[in-house]
Amino acid sequence: MKILICISKTPDTTAKIAFTDNNTKFAADGVQWIINPYDEWYSLVRAIELKEADPSVVLHLVNVGGADSEPIIRKALALGGDEAIRVNADQSDSYFTAAQIAQIAKEGSYDLIFTGKETIDYNGSSIGGMIAEILDIPFVSHAVKFDLASSQTTIVREIDGGEETVQVNLPLVVSCQKGMAEQRIPNMKGIMGARTKPLKVVEPIATEALTSVVAFDLPPAKAGVKLVSADNPEELVRLLSEEAKAI
């Protein structure tokens, strides 16, 4: 049983969102980088739990990114995982990124591929579905629970307004979301061990980018809050009805 876990690098959630180069690039100066929370908290931890339950499970991490991704890859390895692969390319277009991961998946014949539900920077929710299509295997998105018995998986996935329990055979791609597992903090043994785990760097395959960023914008600032006295909540309701026309 081999699991490939996609790990993406995103700015810390408190990072200031600003742009440079005529608003074409994220202003990365001074920004702290983290493992995309959906990748770390849910897909990686769930995969680690599967290995804890069955030590024969092999966990490989994959990242598409430059050398500056290595600190977050090492951090992921400190949580768990046997080795990591970095595809040495900028993660710009989703299709380009998915094609790289699909290539790694093909070469390593993995049984299961985990992604996070989305990255918290680009909010694409695209990579998992694209990988599955390139490999022509099933894709279950927004998984909140994942169980495995021999080659059959039972997954609870979120749907609009509820949940569905589904059964699918391996191999497949799963995008993971809150509920799958609980966030963990790497321990000293993990951090020490991660330093010597293999981190293989491979060059990307030639793939066209289907999209490109033209420019970023920031939303207009709010005009400022209108405060209503706590003794007069009727006034708030009047404003919402007559001024904001919201109720």
């Binding site: 299709y95 579905g129 749907i159 569905e164 589904v166 999209t211 033209v214 420019a215 809050v225």
Partner: protein, 319 residues
Amino acid sequence: MSVLVFIDIADGQIKKASFEAACYGAQTAALLATKAEAIVLGTCEADLSVLGQYGISKVHTVSDAKLNHFDSQVFTKIIADAAAGADVIVFSNNTTGKAIAPRLSARLKAGLVTGAVALPEVSAGFVVKKSVFSGKAFANIGINSAKKIIALNPNAFNITKTDGIAEVAALNSEIPAAAVTVLSVNKVTGEIPLSEADIVVSGGRGLKGPENWGLVTDLAKLLGAATACSRPVADIHWRPHHEHVGQTGLAIAPNLYIAIGISGAIQHLAGVNRSKTIVVINKDPEAPFFKAADYGIVGDAFEVVPKIIDAVKKLKGMS
């Protein structure tokens, strides 16, 4: 040469987000001087010709109960065949759209923009504005491929209705075997899905415990609103996970967001700041949420919210 809109149905009815996608598709078609068609998979009780009122000229249906549970692989194959003549394919960026649009993008080598918030700019190239950083910014993305796919964020595009009746025609489509078997469905009926709700009432740790949630649910019921919560509230299981909004939960953009006892941390704001009107009720005048709010009351939620409930009842002529 046309625009094809995927219409997502639930329990035999067209979802609100799909009406938005239909309007978006029709207006995109107008920009490209072409027509918009739609595709509906699964059995549907609703009269699909009403999609004409949203600008759709023709609705293709594959009315087979096998498609009532969705398998992204099966849906992708059918939609890919139906989209042979389409230049632009539009989805709603809801859980169904997020599972199909990326597959279709890879299958057709059609550039995809998910989370679109505005019509494409077609004067030079084809550029779609999308929400990024969970609503903290927007990115304008150029699609370079001949075929293009757009997944429209729920509540980002106004529904406009005109007269019109769409032609409804069955599509002769082979249904491939599904790899995903649905064992059970657990749906909260009668509740408004959070992503589609016009009004959302949300509670934070300031409410002290799940036993006090009546304040949130009573107000929500009165306003026809969905309920949401901050992350710690879901983490400590006061409320279910799917109510968690913010940067690591659901990003929403209702017309009205009422935050009760939520401090307004940057990660929370990221998921709700696209709401049109934000109301904050917090006893701490320094709570960061007030900076992002349109209206606010500095006060104790346990005193203020019951009074708001009474005032809304009065407004609605209920007391």
